[in-house]
Symmetry: C2
Subunit: 176 residues, 2 copies
Amino acid sequence: MSTIALTPTSYVVLGCLATGGPATPYDLKQAVTDGVGYFWTFPHSQLYSEPARLAQAGLVAERREDVGRRRRVFSITDAGRQALEDWLADPMADLPEIRDTGLLKLFFADNTEPEHVVALARRQSELHGQRLKLYEALSEVAGDGTAAATLGLGLAWEKAATVFWAGVSENPPAHP
Amino acid sequence: MSTIALTPTSYVVLGCLATGGPATPYDLKQAVTDGVGYFWTFPHSQLYSEPARLAQAGLVAERREDVGRRRRVFSITDAGRQALEDWLADPMADLPEIRDTGLLKLFFADNTEPEHVVALARRQSELHGQRLKLYEALSEVAGDGTAAATLGLGLAWEKAATVFWAGVSENPPAHP
DNA sequence: CCTATCATGTAATCCGTTACATGATTAT
DNA sequence: ATAATCATGTAACGGATTACATGATAGG
């Protein structure tokens, strides 16, 4: 049982296990897909490796079903719950970066033709608009817990981005 | 000269070289710090390794000063400029993910005390507010090129986030 | 002259992604 | 039956971060 660095991915796994109880990697994948996955995704393979990593550190326990497929079932340990709570109790959180590839293209767009900027902006506005509609639909049926509350920022962000890109497409920045 | 995968980091380097001309890793660091760095950062070590990677693929050329410190100076090649332009001409860009650690904490906050949510929200609102002020100051002196245009999304995002977190701190979501 | 700070670089580690692969279930 | 899809897993590679380390330059 060694010490490992706890990444956001780690806390996603710990959080899912704490909230939803014991789970197989596939259960985790499901939980992520229609939960945090809306603002933080990763490939399913990480939902196999990360619990194993956490098990090394004693933060989750691994059990194997002894019938049928002998799937791995992970559950959070006391130590794991403690680690999660410590993290949650710490108000520290770095300012998130936008890290938007579309924005990156816009940033360097002086090196290409204005028409490409317009095409990019249109596409981005459309994509954000679609996502916005999805979030609006979700918020219709969402509860009122903290998980549901995160939808608020998603809505605000998609709204702002849709408007921003629409503005760029209608009124492209000066070209040198 | 082998083939490599071009990542966003690659295009940041290519973009900086295309826009600003030949540069040493340190020049790149400077350019990034008060440019793209506002929405996409990476450690300086990557501004040493990434140009080398790009040189392997023939997208940038490396020259060494032959006096003094013999620093490395990189410049973009025709192939590099082509790669950059191809990328810019492609309107394809994945929807960015929020990937906000603070939001992640909020998502799982059912596993902790409400007071911690309030502390987190206050902190986040304050941080975003500071960043908002910075962007406002920058937009006073910014030009009107495409790089400057990216400030628009930054402003909108920080505004939305400041408001969102203020709302959470004043009116925390229900606790189970 | 000395010591901060700026500038420049390398090495090692590791998380995250991509690719590969096969076992179960369901539908036609 | 058999194709399709869902479910489950492993291996390998590489980009990104962290840590380490030293060379120049300016200020006191």
